[in-house]
Amino acid sequence: MSAFYLAAALFLLATILLGLIRVLRGPGSGDRMLAAQLFGTTGVTILLLLSMALGESALVDVALVFALLAVVAAVAFVRQHGLPEPPDTPVHRQHPEDRGPRDDR
């Protein structure tokens, strides 16, 4: 059974490496950030699978901290870049004072 867990963890690791394409190519900063968030979720799963495969219960704590705190970077991103809506949506018009350079790198 632990071989199966390990194989699953390996597969998830491969999906992280595949998802790096989104980080590298973008095009928007939202795409990059979302890919990093996805890695956080995948990382939690890999940690839990490794915890089962290696028989280390302490890794569950690591997974818990991961699940809780991977969101910090996302919150920092959302607070500064806003949500990637088109410029004429009602939400955007409500805050005319807030027109920094739209981030679409």
Binding site: L6, A9, D61, V72, A73
Partner: protein
């Protein structure tokens, strides 16, 4: 089983090295920062493979959480400074991506020039191959694990890393707390803090998420601190988790900073170093040497220091994130 583990190690290492390489080769700073966040995540997995769940805990809180937010906020600060400089001077030409005063300059780094390629490459290759050679020919040794194991019963705790940090090598930990404090003093010496640039909260999701997340993060931090006496966990990990929770709180209302009162904040920030120093001096006076404990008092003293150190580390990390003295006291 072991073949799968070897493949896992190889893929993980290849991923770590590849991510670090793309991060360093990136011309777009935002991309570099996202790659660095990914790098921290993969590192936590590597620490798990190296049988270091304590380090993985700290890396999960710091690498995936705090550093990412810190870098993102720094990029935004740089951008707003550049934008302000350009808007304040109407005679300057509008930002031109190829021009010398480009606004984009804040967040972009042009590819490095050609003439430094070979010297840097040769230097890095020489250093790297020397390191690899030294590591491959290192004599086999058991390290200090047997020594620590032999003295565990007088340490006061059941977790070897906590025993090393707060009893056997308490001196290192004391100085480490002092370094963290000095880093904060350095940041504060640069002036008062500036607001973290932020857009209005885009809807009810963010405040709702934070209302749920922050209490859970605080409970987790206290749990990790408590677990440290017998399992992976302890003051540094708990401090990092609570610091990340504090950063979430700061991010929730960046326009209303500062909320930090002067004196209690300063007391909290120095609590770890101060209490450590007091305990050390007490040990010196009682004849156990600096930072030595009487065996019976080891456990309560370690817990006391750990609580104070957790508080200090958490507050210091939040203060470093805000960067700058709290407003209202220019003494």
């Amino acid at each position: 089983m072991s073949l799968l583990l070897v493949i896992f190690d190889l893929v993980l290492l290849a991923g770590i090295i590849g991510v670090a390489w793309r991060c360093l080769a990136s011309t777009d700073l935002f991309r570099a920062v996202v790659l660095f966040i990914t790098f921290g995540l993969l590192l936590a997995l590597a620490w798990v493979r190296l049988e270091a769940p304590d380090i993985a805990l700290a890396e999960a809180a710091i690498g995936a959480g705090i550093t990412g937010a810190l870098l993102l906020v720094t990029l935004e600060r740089l951008r707003s400074i550049m934008a302000e400089r350009h808007s304040g001077r109407p005679h300057t030409p509008p930002p031109d991506p190829s021009g010398p005063h480009a606004l984009l300059r804040a967040l972009h780094d042009p590819p490095p020039e050609r003439h430094s390629f070979f010297p840097a490459l040769i230097f890095a290759l020489v250093v790297g191959s020397l390191l690899v050679t030294a590591l491959w020919h290192q004599p086999q040794s058991t390290g200090l694990e047997p020594v620590v194991d032999a003295h565990m019963d007088v340490s006061g705790v059941d977790h070897p890393i906590t025993a090393v940090l707060l009893n056997f090598r308490a001196y290192d930990t004391f100085l480490e707390l002092a370094i963290v404090l000095i880093a904060l003093l350095g940041a504060w010496s640069l002036g008062r803090h500036d607001l973290i640039p932020a857009r209005p909260a885009p809807g009810p999701i963010l405040p709702g998420t934070l209302r749920l997340l922050v209490p859970v993060a605080i409970v987790t931090g206290v749990y990790v601190l408590w677990a440290g006496s017998h399992a992976p966990g302890g003051a540094f990990q708990a401090g990092a988790i609570l610091g990340a929770a504090g950063i979430l709180l700061v991010l929730a209302r960046p326009r209303q900073l500062p909320m930090a009162p002067g004196i209690p904040l300063r007391l909290g920030i120095t609590a770890g170093v101060a209490l450590f120093l007091l305990v050390g001096l007490y040990g010196l006076g009682a004849g156990h040497g600096f930072l030595g404990y009487a065996d019976a008092w080891a456990y309560p003293l370690i817990i006391l220091i750990e609580v104070a150190a957790t508080l200090s580390i958490a507050l210091t990390l939040v203060a470093l994130f805000v960067a700058g003295r709290p407003a209202g006291d220019d003494a």
